[in-house]
């Protein structure tokens, strides 16, 4: 974290662990990208780059969110379920004729409240983030399933006879395939501007705001300080609790937004599997991007690169013709090796720094 004060700026720059980490993930992205376009001529097409950009944008938004929490030394395991609950609620609202802007507002408010709730439990009640958000992982998915049980059309019917059942027998997938008036709103997910898909633009804007917040504002410094050493930050007069709550709030808010994008991507959401594993993908992206799980370390540029790795790997798997049954192993192995290499790199640059 220390600014390079050495006379030899160049050495200092490259032996800085943060820079080392970014270089590591940057190289990984370059290698994966080179492999992808090397293996298959068709991977060089504009269409493939647009597909990738859209997916990176979607993942990136979630990765950015969890990045905040990890920087404070916490963790959020509920992201996938928040994505699911948001996608399902957004879908139900649209199914029942809601205006998409109003629905977005409602869903984002809900997601934000979830984040505040996590922050409250972690700071005021001093519960472990791992436990709080793990419980959230179950609760929000269950809530999503329950929401799909309710027959809102029947419930809202003014002529509803007393005692009529408004619960369905089993949870169902929500879907808005029938509504034709949503095209202009769905541009947020399906559109493009200057050839670049909108989710990538959204991610770009959010990343820029995050970068200003984290790296150029005093609040960002507080966030890093509290992640690095909470007690020291508190003694220095930082309201650590407030900044922790902000981190959880932003994480869930972005997950809620991710859920809205998710629904728009496939026009439907299944409460049982929408957003499954997303929290782990997001955490992996952030960690590969140099965000330390011990807290206090991380950069927005690293998170952007980290978020690109999984979409690249998944596409590579198809272009390389790797059988579906080996997909998970291939992805896991590549990630493990990336982390290993990153760790080795970090140790060496740390040794170089100490030696200097």
């Amino acid at each position: 974290m220390s600014p390079p004060e050495s006379k030899n700026m160049f050495t200092a720059f490259f032996s800085n662990p943060t820079v080392g980490r970014i270089l590591g993930v940057f190289l990984l992205v370059v290698v994966l990208y080179t492999l992808m376009i090397g293996i298959e001529e068709n991977a060089r097409t504009v269409e493939n780059h647009q597909n990738l950009a859209r997916r990176i944008g979607e993942w990136g938004i979630l990765t950015l969110g969890v990045g905040f929490v990890i920087i404070t030394g916490g963790i959020d395991l509920s992201i996938g379920s928040v994505v699911c609950l948001s996608a399902v609620s957004f879908g139900i609202l649209l199914e029942n004729g809601a205006n998409p802007y109003v629905a977005t507002l409602v869903v984002l408010t809900g997601a934000g409240l979830i984040g505040l709730f996590h922050g409250y439990l972690v700071t005021k009640l001093n519960l472990q983030p791992f436990v709080v958000t793990l419980c959230g992982l179950f609760i929000y998915r269950g809530m999503a399933q329950f929401l799909t049980l309710i027959d809102f059309k029947k419930w809202m019917d003014p002529n509803l006879a007393a005692g009529t059942r408004i619960l369905r027998d089993s949870s169902r997938d929500v879907g808005v395939g029938g509504r034709t008036d949503l095209t202009s709103f769905f541009w947020l997910q399906k559109g493009e501007w200057l050839g670049i898909p909108t989710p990538m633009w959204l991610f770009g804007i959010l990343a820029l705001l995050a970068a200003i917040f984290l790296h150029a504002s005093v609040y960002g410094r507080y966030l890093f300080a509290l992640g690095y050493n909470e007690q020291a930050a508190r003694y220095a007069g930082v309201n650590t609790n407030r900044f922790k709550v902000i981190a959880y709030f932003l994480c869930s808010l972005l997950a809620g937004f991710g859920g809205i994008l998710f629904l728009m991507k496939i026009n439907s959401a299944s409460p049982s599997n929408a957003g499954n594993w997303f929290e782990l993908y997001a955490i992996t992206g952030a960690v590969l991007g140099g965000t330390s799980l011990r807290g206090g370390e991380g950069t927005v540029i690293g998170i952007i690169l980290g978020a690109a790795i999984l979409p690249l790997l998944k596409t590579l798997v198809i272009f390389a013709g790797i059988p579906s049954d080996m997909e998970f192993s291939a992805i896991g192995l590549a990630l493990l090796l990336g982390t290993l290499a990153d760790e080795l790199l970090r140790r060496r640059s740390e040794a170089a720094r100490k030696g200097a």
């Binding site: 490259f14 270089l23 590591g24 190289l27 990984l28 370059v30 290698v31 994966l32 492999l35 293996i39 298959e40 001529e41 068709n42 991977a43 097409t45 269409e47 493939n48 597909n51 997916r55 027998d169 089993s170 949870s171 169902r172 997938d173 879907g175 808005v176 395939g177 029938g178 991507k265 496939i266 026009n267 439907s268 299944s270 049982s272 599997n273 929408a274 499954n276 594993w277 998944k314 590579l316 198809i318 272009f319 390389a320 013709g321 790797i322 059988p323 579906s324 049954d325 080996m326 997909e327 998970f328 291939a330 192995l333 590549a334 090796l337 290499a341 080795l344 790199l345 060496r348 640059s349």
Partner: protein, 347 residues
């Protein structure tokens, strides 16, 4: 910067190794863009999940790919989600695949996407149809008919009527709803006229439908569901548990075995999971309906090859539905079927 170089080398080496273990492409003569070779037409099959059912289908698809000399990619979305299925199809399109067969996960909501695919290359639906999309044809089991055969097996097992419970992964896919409808139509003794509202808890002829229990393709939950129904109906001698998806009957059998009620509770299954077949042999399961996944794969790849090479020769009925007939398996014919299946899978 020595560290960075060795790091990059490491990653490239390993990723290359991983990329190299794609036997699909090696088997088929390598990269189709290789200079000097005439490239084969590229076709793809995308299933809806990684179940063994698709292994049999893949055997048929590979056989047809060999016979018609096309380059086949057989993909199974590992998590069974529509999002993953769409991603796979997008990548296949980029990869200049010339025809795709899909078992559609969420038919009503993927129409726009599927129409986009169909506008570019021939698209077939297999096993699970999106009838409102612009797909060229649907190849699969006529699920209402298959459901009726399940109903007949229930009637044979409980001729005097009784209680039944249906188990299925999800009720969203059309095949699940159609099979359920077929079962209830037969029990009620009416002709099948498509899907209609048939509620849980009501009586269909002499049979009371206790419920339709979904497990979201989680075999553990499927077993728990069956165990719950058994616990609620202790001592019932007129109970039939019916599994509508491949893994349901084994899950039911496992719950019935745990409850020590094998033989006392009737089980009817669907598809040819090995445990289901063994269960039929021992008499624990009354019977099962088998689709013909081998033919699903074989016929769809053959049709895709024809649609690319000589589209005028392909004859498709007006509604696009190509029924691939199902078969009823009971104790009498299960052994013969199993022998044939092993031969197909090359076991």
């Amino acid at each position: 910067m020595r560290t960075n170089t060795s790091f990059a080398l490491w990653i490239s080496l390993i990723t290359l190794t991983l990329a190299g273990c794609g036997p699909e492409q090696k088997k088929q003569g390598g990269n189709p863009v290789t200079v000097g070779k005439v490239s084969k037409p590229k076709v793809a099959f995308v299933s809806n999940n990684p179940a063994e059912f698709w292994t049999i289908c893949e055997a048929g698809a590979r056989k047809a790919a060999e016979e018609t000399d096309v380059d086949l990619q057989f993909k199974r979305p590992q998590d069974g989600t529509a999002a993953t299925q769409i991603q796979i199809i997008e990548d296949l399109l980029v990869n200049k695949t010339q025809a795709i067969s899909v078992s559609v996960i969420s038919p009503d909501n993927q129409i726009e996407f599927l129409d986009g695919v169909a506008a570019r290359i021939p698209l077939l639906c297999v096993d699970n149809d999106a009838s409102k999309s612009k797909r060229r044809a649907y190849l699969g089991t006529a699920n209402i008919k298959a459901g009726r055969s399940v109903g007949e097996l229930i009637k044979k097992a409980l001729p005097k009527g009784g209680k039944i419970a249906l188990f299925v992964g999800q009720l969203d896919p059309v095949n699940a709803r159609e099979r359920r409808q077929g079962v209830l139509d037969v029990l009620e003794g009416v002709e099948s006229k498509g899907l209609r509202i048939s509620r849980d808890g009501e009586k269909y002829g002499a049979y009371q439908l206790l419920g339709t229990f979904t497990d979201n393709v989680d075999k553990n939950k499927a077993k728990d569901n069956a165990a719950d129904v058994l616990a609620k109906n202790q001592g019932a001698t007129d109970l039939a548990l019916v599994g509508l998806w491949a893994y349901n009957a084994p899950a039911i059998l496992s719950a019935v075995t745990d409850a020590n009620r094998v033989g006392k509770v009737k089980i009817v299954g669907f598809d040819e999971d090995n445990e289901t077949l063994e269960g039929i042999k021992t008499g624990a399961i009354e019977g099962t309906i088998v689709q013909n996944p081998y033919e699903f794969g074989f016929q769809s790849v053959k049709m895709m090859a024809d649609l690319i090479r000589k589209p005028e020769s392909v004859k498709i009925p007006e509604d696009g539905i190509m029924d691939i007939p199902h078969k009823v398996l009971t104790k009498e014919n299960v052994q013969a079927f199993q022998t044939e299946l092993k031969k197909l899978l090359g076991k």
